[in-house]
């Protein structure tokens, strides 16, 4: 029926899943942020297309038009876009500092270094190398 008619929602869902997949599947911290941004952008589309009223025009008062689109979702999403930019900026700033501290932005390298640190701490505490337990792995 109106599978084509709802194409805006299809775009939202596809973009959302692409973004989500990148966040989960990629090791590189920058690529994760790219995925996160795509994920957030899909929600912006959801809101913006929600405000569309069939046959309506932009919400600027004019005597030639009677029906206007709903401006509220657009205003809301302006706020969300600002939030999204702040999140990306903060994320990138963190990645810069992670690179300075670890010398890598690959998640795996960082985990290896952290695990190494933790094992050294355990060695110091218990005097012997304790094999990582089930619960140590669970947090990695």
């Amino acid at each position: 029926m109106n599978i084509i008619g709802l194409y805006n929602y299809w775009i939202v869902v596809v973009l959302m899943l692409i973004g989500f997949y990148i966040v989960i599947a990629h090791e590189n911290l920058i690529k994760k942020l790219v995925g996160l941004t795509i994920f957030q952008t899909s929600v912006f589309f959801l809101y913006i297309s929600m405000g569309k009223v069939a046959g309506a025009t932009a919400p600027i008062l004019d005597e030639n038009y009677q029906i206007y689109s709903n401006p509220l979702p657009h205003v809301l999403i302006l706020t969300a876009i600002v939030v999204g930019i702040a999140t990306t900026a903060l994320g990138l700033a963190l990645v810069v500092r992670i690179y300075e501290a670890y010398g890598s932005i690959e998640e795996n390298d960082i985990q290896v270094q952290d695990t190494h640190d933790r094992l050294e701490c355990q060695l110091e505490a218990y005097g012997r190398q304790k094999p990582p337990t089930l619960f140590d792995q669970e947090t990695n």
Partner: protein, 492 residues
């Protein structure tokens, strides 16, 4: 003046945060932040009194009536939590002056207080507002600033932890945004009480159901419910001590508030029962969370990580109270929210005081501290006893109400499991005690002395509050019961 209390609460820290940047002198900024937080505390105390005597306060921002403008609505539930958040924040800030100067480079102090006050703004805003979209905005204000205050320290692991929290937190917040969007789509309103009136007409719609699903998952990410808790242990363990004390006591609690508010005041408990077996899901995740996180805690060497896992377990108890879906259950949930905030703030501040003296949070470095820092260690033990739920502490009060609520519902096997899980808490608290009191000193030298008064006073204020509210439960139990009644009153 008093008429504007609901908004002043949020506005004062919001405006104070950029002012910190102008003050520049670190000590001055710290004292300023204490005054700001204390002002918020006094206002929330005034609000609680007002709400108890005169009932719910509704405040219209800019004078615009509710469905068009943003409404702030203060009832028993959120005034109770406003008091908790601003109170804990003030006490934690008292200890921050010395702790921060030890843990952060001089040039970051001003930024720390700025981000801290923004975080406080966000948390108070979430509690005060009655607008669904406003919740999202304040949630992001508090989240972004908490990523900052976690990563601001010198430990590099905090950076990775903060990044992980940022990714998971943003996914959670975006889910909440989707939920709010879908609700708006169906009802055309964003005001919570307007939503509650218009949602029943579209209960059967799949859009509302998916709105609910997105919303619950998003909030559960924020409150670190068991399988979604992965960001929490590292973020708490490697952040500066003051950050940990503040966030552990407040941020997950505020997320639980959002969950309660939406389940009871927006969607309504009948819709929840009809659409999702949420009680069963919460029951299972809560119980599994309690056991897995408690057992994980017993394996931790870093004491902050140990108590961070214990926090995940306590979230399990809080969610268990929700799963019961009775007035008694909600009372237990609210009590545990309040009580757990007191315990964890005291514990993490005490750990911060130890860090101030020995520069480490490793349990093996605590060996022999029992003699060197007796008052701080006594505070840790008192906090630990409260976590276990020993009588005369707040932990006992909330576990008691939880078990009573479970028995009242007839779920005695769950009650038995709750009591068993307390025994695991005994194990991890005992591990701390063993290192502190019964192991010969390792790195502790003669110079190590008791924590400075500026930290001891806030720590013991919280410990005494732990004991006081464990004996005199009139305020906490009374207000929790009132709040639970009003939650059910709206929908029955």
């Amino acid at each position: 003046m008093t008429a504007h209390f609901p908004i002043l609460q949020v506005i004062i820290p919001l405006f104070a945060a950029p002012l910190c940047l102008f003050l520049r002198i670190p000590r001055l900024v710290g004292v300023f932040a204490i005054f700001v937080s204390a002002a918020a505390f006094l206002i929330s105390y005034g609000l609680l009194q007002e709400v108890i005597t005169h009932g719910t306060i509704s405040y219209k921002l800019g004078g615009w009536p509710a469905p068009w403008g943003i409404e702030y609505r203060i009832d028993t539930l959120n005034s109770f939590l406003l008091l908790l958040v601003s109170g804990v924040s003030t006490v934690v800030l008292l200890a921050s002056l010395s702790s921060i100067s030890r843990e952060l480079p001089q040039n970051r102090h001003t930024y720390f207080y700025t981000a801290y006050l923004l975080c406080l703004t966000g948390l108070l805003g979430i509690l005060a507002t009655a607008d669904a979209f406003n919740v999202f905005v304040f949630l992001e204000i508090s989240s972004l600033s908490s990523y900052t205050i976690i990563a601001i320290g010198t430990d590099r692991r905090a950076l990775a932890a903060s990044y992980q929290y940022l990714i998971m937190g943003t996914i959670g917040a975006t889910f909440i945004l989707i939920g709010v969007g879908l609700m708006y789509m169906m009802t055309g309103t964003l005001n919570m009480y307007d939503l509650a009136e218009r949602l029943p007409a579209v209960y059967k719609s799949k859009t509302v159901l998916s709105a609910f699903g997105f919303f619950i998952v998003g909030v559960c990410l924020k409150l670190a419910l068991f399988p979604l808790h992965l960001w929490l242990p590292n973020a708490y363990a490697y952040a500066p001590s003051i950050t940990t004390a503040f966030l552990a006591a407040t941020s997950t609690k505020v997320a639980v508030y959002v969950l309660i508010r939406y389940i009871f005041s927006v969607f309504g408990i009948e819709f929840v029962d009809m659409s999702l077996p949420l009680g069963d899901i919460f029951l299972i995740l809560g119980l599994v969370g309690i056991f897995v996180a408690s057992i994980s805690a017993t394996f931790q060497l870093n004491i902050k990580r140990l108590f961070a896992y214990s926090s995940v377990a306590q979230i399990g108890y809080i969610i268990l109270g929700l799963a019961i879906e009775t007035q008694l259950g909600i009372t237990a949930t609210l009590l545990h929210l309040f009580n757990h905030a007191l315990m964890k703030a005291a514990l993490f501040l005490a750990i911060g005081a130890v860090f101030y003296r020995i520069g480490s949070a490793q349990l093996n470095h605590y060996a022999g501290l029992g003699k060197k820092m007796p008052l701080t260690m006594a505070a840790i033990v008192a906090g630990g006893l409260s976590l276990i739920g020993v009588p005369l502490t707040v932990g006992f009060v909330s576990k008691w109400y939880l078990v009573v609520a479970l028995l009242d519902k007839g779920w005695w096997p769950v009650a038995v499991l709750v009591l068993l899980s307390s025994l695991i808490a005994v194990i991890y608290v005992w591990r701390v005690v063993e290192w502190v009191y019964f192991t010969p000193p390792r790195i502790i030298t003669e110079e190590v002395k008791e924590a400075p008064l500026s930290q001891l006073i806030p720590i013991w204020m919280l410990v005494l509050a732990n004991i006081y509210f464990g004996v005199d439960t009139r305020l906490t139990v009374g207000v929790s019961k009132l709040a639970a009644q009003s939650l059910f009153g709206v929908n029955l």
